[in-house]
């Protein structure tokens, strides 16, 4: 497997002698260290296996890689930042080189962040790379999640990895929030203030929770060191641990691959780690890191010096969280005030609590549970290693687009003030648009997406049924002309017919043969209904019989049995179908 056919580039040059191949001789050339390690660990076997492990190639597989590399860049630059950052809310008077803030009373956290930005050589570039890579990490992670969802890569056996990924996604945004809250500037302090308000609305335990988190009244001096310990120790430990499990499962289960000629459920087609994938994936790390450095060099992010130190009675207009917290913030902007109730003297803030505290975990629980739900509905218990084209699962693709639409409505709603200013629109109208849009747009997105998928599938069918135009015009004895189409499936059309036909689950009778109602009948009815929802109008791939039928013109032998053809009745629908295609 590891021996590729010889190429001219591999050919020996003049004076070269082929290497000898005695067992152990190759290892000796590597030097003593490898042997020393193998003597003590036996690592040669697993390392040898890993080196020839095959990974399939596709641009969309790089999305997860971008997330992974951004996370590594975050860890690296974050470790640097800890050398200068002082995680303390203790007061100090700033005397660094940023003149406008000299003499201002502020926390040590803010002062040290200013020092990193202005007084430590290269400190600003590290800080900016850190923040940009955090944003990139979560963007890449989300888009990677889209890829996995829409191609059905989460199906058996990869449900566990999808669930781990959902937890990783949730942890990543909490990690991000803890991180951008640390500098203790006015903007991040406002974010913490809002978080305090959220937690305070939790029914029954809200106030105790707040005093526990803040170690007393808001803001206190405990929140910065506590966020710091969460940001650099607790959450990264969980992130790295779960990430290791995530990537470990990818190795163990072998990567999925897109369908194509020669690719089956039983194989992996791609390039081996040594040398191709090592070079490509290793090189890609440097590209991601390099692009992050370039962005950090030319695009300023989070200019904390412009906001000033945190003061609970001051605020800047257009206060906004980092993008990944936007959807929760948007939900808070949309929930109307009348959702706050007072019951027996106790206040239940349904205008805050659901958007601030429930939404976040809810989104990720729904995400994590989806594969199990879909498996139940489809009754599909097989292993899947070939990815689906999104069009070939119209309902899932529709559900995904509806979810993305709902998320986007909330995300855009968190920018309603900026939009109102930039577009010169009424903020009230915008808010109402988003409020209604949250309910109307997702079903619309579902419907549109599903229709587009079905149309694309029909077009795939048409393409295959049409066949290859040979350019040969045939004249029939009765004077009609037609072009002969090749009925052979061309290799590039394999992608159009490779997917599995689907049909809704059939409902078993509600009573058994003795007339006794089966206990599971209700659940089964729901399951059958959901299955119909998924598959009732499925467009299945062309079968060889259908292709043969589509190309049956009856012309070749009409001289023998002309009347039979027209009388069979079968030819008519095909001719009309053909006519539609010409």
């Amino acid at each position: 497997m590891s021996t590729a056919p010889t190429r001219p580039a591999d050919a020996l040059r003049e004076g070269d002698r082929p290497a000898e191949s005695r067992p152990g001789a190759a290892a000796r050339t590597v030097g003593g260290v490898a042997g020393w390690v193998d003597d003590r660990t036996g690592a040669a076997k697993p390392v040898g296996y890993l080196m020839k492990k095959v990974f399939p190639d596709h641009w969309s597989f790089m999305l997860g890689e971008i997330a992974m590399y951004s996370m590594i860049v975050c860890l690296l630059t974050g470790a640097f930042l800890t050398f200068w950052f002082v995680p303390s809310a203790g007061h100090t008077i700033y005397d660094g080189s940023y003149v406008p803030l000299r003499g201002v009373s502020m926390s040590e956290a803010y002062a040290s962040t200013l020092n990193i930005s202005f007084d430590i050589k290269g400190g600003l570039i590290i800080r900016q790379i850190h923040h940009w890579s955090a944003l990139m990490f979560i963007v890449a992670l989300v888009v990677h999640m889209f890829r996995v969802f829409f191609t059905g890569a989460f199906r058996k056996p990869r449900e566990i990895n999808w669930a781990i990924g959902s937890v990783l996604a949730l942890l990543a945004i909490i990690e991000g929030f803890a991180g951008y809250s640390l500098p203790d500037d006015l903007l991040s302090g406002t974010g913490i203030r809002a978080m305090q308000g959220f937690v305070q609305t939790a029914p029954v335990i809200g106030t105790y929770l707040v005093y526990a988190i803040f170690g007393g009244p808001f803001p206190g001096e405990m929140i910065i060191p506590r966020l710091y310990s969460a940001h650099i120790l607790l959450i990264p430990a969980l992130l790295v641990g779960l990430f290791t499990a995530h990537i470990g499962l990818v190795f163990l289960q072998k990567h999925t691959q897109y369908p194509g000629p020669g690719r089956t459920e039983k194989n992996v087609v791609g390039f081996p780690v040594m040398p191709v994938y090592a070079a490509k994936a290793g090189g890609f790390f440097f590209i991601v890191f390099g692009i992050l450095s370039l962005i950090a060099a030319v695009v300023q992010i989070n200019p904390i010096w412009a906001y000033g130190p945190y003061d609970p009675s001051a605020v800047t207009a257009g206060s906004q969280p980092d993008w990944y917290m936007g959807f929760a913030d948007g939900a808070l902007r949309l929930l109307p005030g009348w959702l706050e109730f007072e019951i027996f003297g106790y206040t239940l803030s349904m205008n805050i609590f659901p958007g601030a505290l429930l939404l976040l975990p809810l989104v990720y629980v729904v995400l994590g549970v989806y594969p199990f739900l879909e498996r139940w509905v489809t009754g599909d218990n097989r292993e899947h290693h070939l990815l689906q084209r999104p069009r070939n699962s119209p309902v899932r693709t529709g559900i995904g687009m509806a979810a993305i639409t709902a998320y986007s409505v909330l995300l855009f709603a968190s920018g309603n003030d900026i939009m109102a200013i930039k577009l010169g629109m009424s903020i009230n109208d915008l808010t109402w648009f988003f409020r209604i849009g949250f309910f109307v747009l997702p079903p619309l997105a579902f419907w549109v997406t599903k229709r587009i998928c079905l149309s694309l599938q029909r077009r795939d069918r048409d393409t295959v049924l049409h066949g290859r135009e040979t350019g040969t015009i045939v004249r029939t004895p009765d004077g009609r002309f037609f072009e002969r189409h090749d009925t052979e499936l061309t290799p590039d059309q394999w992608i159009l017919v490779q997917h599995e036909p689907v049909a809704p689950l059939e409902l078993e009778p509600a009573v058994d043969e003795n007339g006794v109602a089966r206990p599971a009948a209700r659940k089964d009815r729901l399951r059958a209904r959901l299955s119909r929802f998924y598959f009732a109008d499925a467009v299945n791939p062309v079968t060889p019989a259908e292709l043969a039928a589509a190309h049956y013109h009856g012309e070749e032998h009409e001289a023998i049995e002309p009347s039979e053809t027209s009388a069979s009745g079968g030819a008519a629908p095909i001719e009309s179908a053909e006519a539609g295609r010409h």
Binding site: S97, G197, G206, G215, F286, A296, A297, P312, T543, A549
Partner: protein, 374 residues
């Protein structure tokens, strides 16, 4: 068009339908069995060699490109080192399209990017031009372990349970389960119990009640002067012209040794003067002084300072989530996610003509919480 996977369905298959005698005009089809149900996989496409696979010159060109990229990386690293020492951290530079920016940030970032991108693009170009591009095929095996392995695990576990007498002596099981279930409680208790104090009354009190209002503190009311923030000077009623807005803190707050931010977070007040005839609420007029009214600046939604005041409409807007309050209507919510009006501070003037509080806030300021109404 019926697209279900029902190969026996005849409506589309038409002439190839079964059950009838094979007609001469379809003699190339041997009944249904002649057509497989699915298409078969055509197999891997033929490998197309690249230029560098066949042509030594192309390979040498590719080699040159890769080494150039690696060279650029080395150059970037060297430049980074030089510029690190050369450029002072305080130097700024004007760059078209970016504006004035830190020179060292720009220089270090760009050279670092060169060093990294050179390696990255070099390695990938190498992989794409010179490394073998034959796709390899690796077999997959079912992930599931064999039945024997599964049985062995179950057997070993059972055997372990039996030989350790766990199954024979159930009290071992119950007490061990209980001990393991409980041992985490002390740790959880320590964290949960010691993270912070009980809030007590501190959420419903503010500095306007007469002094520091943290947990366990119950200040006694005394009238406090309204002080400008940050100047910390008192405000005379006749200085407040119609339409002006002041940030107000209670007298003594800024002189505190500690807890300034904690008190500020509850006690911040906005002072506005309206025309008396613009005020639509009797209570609002009573609690103010000649059209001068004082309201808590802390939003009743989630506690951001209500920072934006529109002088023409007398609307207060919170920049965090756009709750809008109408000052002429006792700061009622007229739009947005907040439910409650901003609490009003009852004010009057003292003997010297300075504005003072007449009583503390009548309700808790800031965001809602469960026991707020108690």
């Amino acid at each position: 068009m019926n697209e279900q996977d029902t190969p026996t369905h005849g409506s589309e298959v038409g002439p190839t339908g079964h059950g009838t005698a094979v007609r001469l005009d379809q003699g190339h089809i041997i009944g249904d069995g002649g057509i497989p149900e699915r298409f078969s996989n055509p197999g891997l496409p033929v490998h197309v060699p690249r230029a560098a696979d066949l042509d030594e010159d192309a390979a040498r060109r590719a080699e040159k490109q890769v080494t150039t990229l690696f060279g650029i990386s080395i150059l970037g690293t060297l430049l980074f080192i030089v510029l690190y020492f050369l450029i002072d951290v305080e130097e700024t530079i004007y760059v078209p399209g970016i504006g004035v920016t830190s020179a060292s940030n720009l220089a270090l970032g760009v050279t670092l990017a060169l060093a990294l991108l050179g390696i990255g693009f070099g390695a990938i170009h190498w992989a794409k031009t010179l490394m073998p591009d034959h796709e390899m095929v690796e077999e997959r095996h079912p992930l599931r372990a064999t039945d024997e392995s599964r049985d062995r695990v179950v057997h070993e576990m059972r055997e372990g349970g039996n030989s350790s007498q766990l199954t024979r002596r159930p009290f071992l099981k119950y007490t061990l389960g209980g001990a393991l279930g409980l041992f985490a409680v002390p740790l959880v208790l320590q964290v949960a119990g010691s993270l912070g104090p009980m809030p007590q009354k501190s959420l419903s009190l503010t500095f306007w009640h007469g002094g520091p209002s943290g947990p366990g503190q119950e200040p006694e009311f005394r009238p406090l002067r309204l002080m400008r923030d940050p100047e910390n000077t008192p405000v005379r009623a006749d200085e407040v012209t119609v339409g002006s807005v002041y940030h107000i803190l209670p007298e003594g707050l800024l002189d505190l040794e500690e807890g300034v931010l904690e008190e500020k977070a509850k006690a911040a007040v906005l002072l506005v003067r309206l025309q008396e005839d613009e005020i639509q609420s009797e209570k609002q007029l009573d609690w103010g002084y000649q059209g001068i009214v004082a309201y808590s600046k802390i939003c009743t939604h989630v506690g951001c300072p209500v920072g934006l005041y529109e002088q023409v409409t007398h609307h207060l807007l919170c920049p965090c989530h756009q709750s809008t309050f109408d000052v002429t209507r006792d700061c009622e919510v007229i739009f947005g996610p907040a439910k409650r009006s901003l609490p009003q501070l009852k004010i009057t003037v003292d003997d010297e003509g300075y504005l003072v509080s007449e009583q503390p806030f009548a309700e808790a300021v800031g965001p809602s919480y469960w026991e707020r109404g108690q």
